[in-house]
Amino acid sequence: MAQMTMIQAITDALRVELKNDENVLVYGEDVGQNGGVFRATEGLQDEFGEDRVFDTPLAESGIAGISIGLATQGFRPVPEIQFFGFVYEAMDAINGQMARLRYRSGNTVSMPVTIRSPFGGGGVHTPELHADSLEGLIAQQPGMKVVIPSGPYDAKGLLIQSIRDNDPVVFLEHMKLYRSFREEVPEDDYTIELGKANVVREGKDVTLVAYGAMVHSALKAAEDLEKDDIDAEVIDLRTVMPVDFETIIKSVEKTNRMVMIQEAQRQAGIASYVVSNVQERAILHLEAPILTVAAPDTVYAFTQAEEVWLPNYNDIIEKVNKVMHF
């Protein structure tokens, strides 16, 4: 076991899969000699050669587009979109083509593509279209899976599983988590099943459902709520498409209260999807409406207003108190 940051765990997962399967290819803008703008692919070109790990022209639709062709020819592509805001350039290739090939081919063609991409705010103060939480755009497309790890251990296990999955996965890496803490990460390979949530803290009074960096805000809130005798359970979705409703419902049946937390803007999106399903399946177990913590419905804020704009610990405490005293 080694102590790794999330970025190291991601590099390690890529290395494991490049070694395990000669059909795995890693490519994107600046991922070769430069090792990626966040160094996620550091050293991989030297180790596996330019045929396996390579730079592409600056064109996201091309990066996603060639992945479709490569996947149909037996490769297992792991392309990188340098920042997830750039995915708009690749939306036709992803949602319009990649997501649909299995369906179009009458379930005869697999699409084992894993698109990795950094996103998320509050860590690196980026210009526009770098930090946006756009997971909802992909999650709305039937045929796609969307995975968002909350730390190093999960990142490695989920990335390896995503690469081995025969359907297209968008694997989103929150920039704030890249280097913010270390965790014990096994050096050999291991996988974490997609579509399974993780109960990261057990509690009996209220269920906090979150994913990505918000898991840590939820955990911090849960710790402090203990002082007010509120025992919060925290669930990390890990995969936002598909969502593990079973784990959430089980928890809500115990706690009878829930707060849904996402960094993305409130309109449409993952939170709405989760909440609507929970109320359909567990309305008689609820003692209060499910409240949502989310960013306001504006374009992503510039640096000056970023900290206020992003949902935070205080918003979680406020919403928990509301559901507890409904």
Binding site: E29, D30, G32, Q33, N34, G35, V37, F38, D55, T56, P57, L58, A59, E60, S61, G62, E89, V124, T126, R266, Q267, P296, D297, T298, V299, A301, F302, Q304, A305, V308, W309
Partner: protein
């Protein structure tokens, strides 16, 4: 430079050509898209030749030569205003520094020698020499310009620093001509938060 690899670039020059738009496309070819060199972006020998397929004028100029860039742009402008259609200008130049100050390290993808070669062609040095030889420029004049520019920058920074800090309510108010009800609610919510 990297932008010329995007599909949107081809669509843009194609539209401009199809509509004979009075447009000038300036491609600043600084040799790299962050770390990836022009040779890995395209097999085309020049970026200017991409104009050919779009049926528009294309010209490659020494982007380190102020007067060459001026001449090419002047000609392109004349063509545009005379209704003769768009022009693509590729300027050959170089980025001395990193792509961003947030961790880009140019030593990972290019040599000192390459930078030294481009420094020899520095457009400011060359233009200064040209003007001095013509008796149109002196050190005093240059210092004056530099001082004036520094003052202007200082004043601009000061003015920017004096601006009120951006608030979430400002962002909300900039979203639609008329705020929909859900945003009106959020506006009230953030007004309350900001007045605390």
């Amino acid at each position: 430079m990297g932008g010329t690899s995007q599909g949107d670039f081809y669509e843009g020059i194609n539209f401009a050509g199809a509509y004979k738009a009075p447009a000038i496309f300036v491609v600043q070819n600084n040799q790299f898209a962050i770390s990836v060199p022009v040779e890995k972006q395209t097999a085309a020998k020049t970026l200017a030749q991409k104009a050919v397929a779009a049926g528009i004028e294309g010209i490659q100029v020494d982007g380190m030569d102020v007067l060459a860039v001026y001449a090419a742009t002047k000609e392109a402008r004349e063509r545009a205003v005379n209704g003769e259609g768009p022009t693509l200008i590729e300027t050959l130049t170089y980025r001395y520094g990193p792509h961003t100050m947030a961790g880009d390290d140019p030593t990972r993808y290019r040599t000192e020698d390459m930078t030294t070669e481009w420094e020899k062609k520095d457009p400011i040095v060359r233009f200064r020499k040209f003007l001095e030889e013509k008796g149109l420029w002196s050190e005093e004049q240059e210092n004056e310009v530099i001082e004036k520019a520094k003052e202007e920058i200082k004043a601009a920074i000061k003015k920017t620093d004096e601006q009120p800090k951006q608030k979430v309510t400002d962002l909300i108010n900039n979203m639609y001509e008329e705020l929909p009800a859900h945003l009106q609610e959020q506006l009230e919510e953030y007004k309350a938060k900001e007045s605390k």
